[in-house]
Subunit: 201 residues, 2 copies
């Protein structure tokens, strides 16, 4: 015997497919939607139905764009410096960097990170397009803004090797203590990177 109505169980199963959502969380989401205005569930349903048809990937930067745009509006913005490119793993990394308001160049989304365990090889990432873009846009500096993880470091190293011989400057995001962190609680690797990258005052 089912303890929950079929319609609710179907929704719980579908919600359970989202990352980090277990059955308890899915139950909570489903029950919230049941208790509230049906309009809320319909709104979410229509946002989901329209999702894939309304978005596209920019063929130049591989950022997410509206389906009716041809190139990322950020890339086309004349105020942005096309000769400075931040290389990121995923489109959402652009949002994180833009929130700092500290970067005025353009972006290049790799579409993932090299990960032999997950079977992601360099060929599946937009590295070739990055190399082509360096020539087309006369790029002068590339900032490798990948995660501070094994996959992020591997991908950064691979791109660095691919660009050997070209005269583009390559930099990487600084590693060190996060702002507000206690030195006492920092892990050894972060601390040794902070030492290596120490800055003269």
């Amino acid at each position: 015997m089912n303890l929950l109505p079929q319609g609710m169980q179907t929704l719980i199963d579908a919600l359970g497919a989202l990352p980090g959502v277990g059955s308890r969380t899915a139950e909570r989401y489903a029950y919230y939607l049941i208790r509230h205005d049906p309009a809320k569930a319909q709104q979410l349903a229509s946002a989901l139905s329209g999702l894939h048809s309304s978005i596209a990937y920019c063929p130049k930067t591989f950022a997410l764009i509206d389906a009716d745009e041809t190139v990322s509006p950020l890339y086309e913005d004349p105020k942005r410096d096309k000769t400075l490119v931040a290389v990121v793993a995923e489109p959402l990394d652009i949002v994180a960097l833009e929130k700092t308001s500290a970067f005025h160049g353009t972006y290049h989304v790799l579409g993932g990170l090299i990960s032999p365990i997950d079977g992601v090889t360099p060929d599946e990432l937009h590295i070739r397009e990055l190399v082509a873009r360096i020539k087309e846009d006369k790029v002068q500096e590339i900032i490798l803004a990948t995660n501070a993880s094994v996959e992020g470091e591997t991908t950064a190293l691979y791109i660095q090797q691919q660009l050997e011989g070209s005269d583009v400057k390559i930099s990487r995001l600084a590693r060190g203590l996060p702002v507000g962190a206690d030195l006492e609680y920092a892990d050894q690797i972060t601390l040794s990177r902070a030492l290596e990258g120490r800055q003269l005052l």
Copy 2:
């Protein structure tokens, strides 16, 4: 300028309405759905569209039921004892109690807990229906299975007062140390309840 396509932003806003989902989590869910098979998003969309039309509340126990059922199948099950009723706040509490396999009575869902702060008065809960049910089903014992919170205790006390004079047995879920818990780390109230409710061996 929008950093994300409109379709994705609409979905993020709709997902952000779910309980405990902030903008970062909503972004993660939305990006997961974008990267995966469009069928997954469609599946979720159709589960949501059909949600409210496929479910109903049992008029007797106020549990969630399929729209084509008239009464909760658990209540109609001849193996369940109708004279023993567990009173719970929400339909999902039934799932939690059923998972124990330790209860063979039936349920009564209040549809919330008395909470003056949130403006929930006893009139909005299915307490009248509980009183009526006691006569109809010749209920002999009521287990007040509300949360161990202020609202849960208040509601239990209110129901107890409403049933004064009737000869139905009223019990409450035991309060005490959760199984596996360290006495050292238990809070004072839990510990004093565990002392009050000590059992002779």
